[in-house]
């Protein structure tokens, strides 16, 4: 139930102070699970993402559905089809209750990008990828 609420929260338009709406004002969001199955990440970002200065909100829960704080979160932009990343990596801030924000997202080229996410807690590293399109 808590997970569902978090997911719905991720899908819902965020308050104006938290997001920069695009012309269309559409907010994209989905949930991904880390490769090791330890975490679920609900995410939200404007759709389409701008090429510069964008941001993504992440809500991280563990297997039991509890929000996960105290994680080191890294977000690395990657363009799979072109085999390259970006020279600017976003800074990730922890807002509490499993909520993390990564910005700025610098995705200068049109096409399909991946935001490759690494969650670290102690010696444990978990990985997930979020697919986004930049027009």
């Amino acid at each position: 139930m808590r997970r569902l609420l978090l997911f719905l929260l991720a899908l819902a338009p965020l308050p104006a102070c938290q997001t920069s709406p695009t012309e269309s004002g559409v907010v994209a969001g989905k949930t991904v699970t880390t490769d090791d199955g330890l975490y679920q990440i609900a995410w939200s970002a404007v759709d389409p993402l701008p090429r510069s200065g964008g941001k993504i909100d992440l809500w991280v829960t563990d297997k039991s559905g509890q929000t996960s704080d105290g994680l080191t979160v890294e977000v690395v932009p990657w363009m799979p089809a072109m085999g390259h990343g970006a020279s600017v990596y976003p800074t990730v801030s922890a807002l509490g209750q499993g909520h993390y924000v990564a910005q700025p997202l610098e995705l200068p080229m049109a096409g399909s990008w991946q935001l490759r996410i690494k969650l670290t807690k102690g010696p444990q590293e978990s990985h997930a990828a979020i697919d986004v399109d930049v027009p």
Binding site: E23, P48, P50, R51, S52, G53, V76, W78, M79, P80, A81, M82, G83, H84, G85, A86, S87, E106, P108, M109, A110, G111, S112, Q114, D131, D133, P135
Partner: protein, 347 residues
């Protein structure tokens, strides 16, 4: 050594001018040839010109130049000598603007409102015949990119691109091969002399001018002439070396291009050509794992015209665009571009 080579070329050119045997221009054609001589002289003259426009059509169409950061899809040979040509040097100006892209799922996405991608490239080209059947070609590219986005001011950057070296061997030549098509094999290497996307410093990565990886390619070229037509089919396989960014070890999938080009002789010393190229690439890998939906499929069409301005000078211009075929394309950048170039030939 270099001086000796060029002196030698000049002497050969002067000899060719006197004798007319290796001439390209109409005014220098041998007069009073027998039909047999005409096959060696006139046909080869026409052929040499037609091959000149092919370099424009195929070189431009076969290149995935839409994005400097992308490996694969290099031209078969960026500059190409006809059978009777010993050396050539040229300058090519290319420009393109981004129209949109076809994403990993094959869905067309127009460039966002208020966003612009403008690319310029100047190439210095050189080719020299090192053997009756073998020629080498060099491309020195300089690239400029300008971009903007909503809320982001225009940014621009420039720099040396990825230098390309190619060797072409004519297994059979057009005259010898009839009625079969002539066969040539090409090997090329592209050096990571440009700035890779991961190393961009300018806003909106406008200073990206290369892939950041070594690339090697091998190609087979088939050519057949039915005057006034010349047809070419070329297949190229390109392998990109792995490259490492931080703790990410990436490698692009092997890519292949197939190009079909048609050249036709026109009045007034003009030649026209059209070419269609398909580029396909396998999935790329990251830290040894294949990335889903990272393959590419892209169609490019080109039309160009070449003018034999004088015995030694060729001027060519053309337009090119990726064909937005959403169901037949994947991870394709769609641009509309133009090319203008001039090549000086030493017979």
């Amino acid at each position: 050594m270099r001086r000796l080579t060029w002196t030698c070329l000049r002497r050969r050119a002067a000899k060719a001018r006197r004798g007319g045997r290796f001439s390209l221009g109409r005014q220098e054609r041998p007069r009073g040839d027998t039909p047999g001589d005409t096959r060696l002289g006139l046909d080869r003259v026409v052929l040499a010109r037609a091959l000149g426009v092919l370099l424009c059509a195929v070189g431009w169409s076969g290149s995935a130049w839409a994005q400097a950061c992308c490996s694969g899809g290099q031209a078969v040979t960026p500059i190409r000598l006809g059978d009777l040509e010993r050396a050539a040097a040229g300058f090519v100006l290319r420009t393109s603007g981004g129209l949109g892209s076809i994403d990993a799922g094959g869905v067309w996405r127009a460039t966002a409102a208020g966003t612009h991608d403008i690319n310029l490239e100047q190439d210095l080209l050189a080719a020299v015949r090192v053997h009756k059947r073998v020629q080498m070609a060099l491309t020195l590219p300089w690239l400029e990119t300008a971009r903007n986005a909503p809320g982001v001011p225009w940014a621009s950057g420039q720099g040396l691109g990825d230098i390309d070296l190619a060797a072409r061997a004519d297994v059979t030549r057009l005259d010898d091969a009839r009625p079969w098509p002539a066969l040539a094999v090409v090997a090329g290497v592209t050096m990571p002399t440009g700035r890779a996307a991961d190393a961009a410093k300018a806003p909106l990565a406008t200073d990206v001018t290369g892939t950041g990886t070594w690339q090697a390619r091998a190609a087979i070229v088939l050519e057949r002439q039915w005057q006034p037509w010349l047809l070419q089919m070329a297949g190229v396989l390109t392998w990109a070396a792995p490259h490492t960014v931080g703790d990410l070890h990436a490698q692009q999938g092997v890519s292949g291009t197939v190009t079909a080009a048609v050249v036709r002789e026109l009045p007034l010393d003009l030649f026209g050509s059209v070419a269609l190229t398909w580029l396909g690439a396998g999935a790329s890998t990251l830290n040894g794992q294949k990335l889903a939906n990272s393959g590419r499929s892209q169609w490019t069409a080109a039309a160009s015209v070449l003018w034999q301005a004088s015995a030694r000078w060729r001027v060519h211009g053309g337009v090119t665009s990726q064909v937005p075929l959403p169901d037949l394309s994947q991870n394709a950048t769609v641009t509309l571009g133009g090319v203008l170039g001039a090549v000086y030939v030493w017979p």
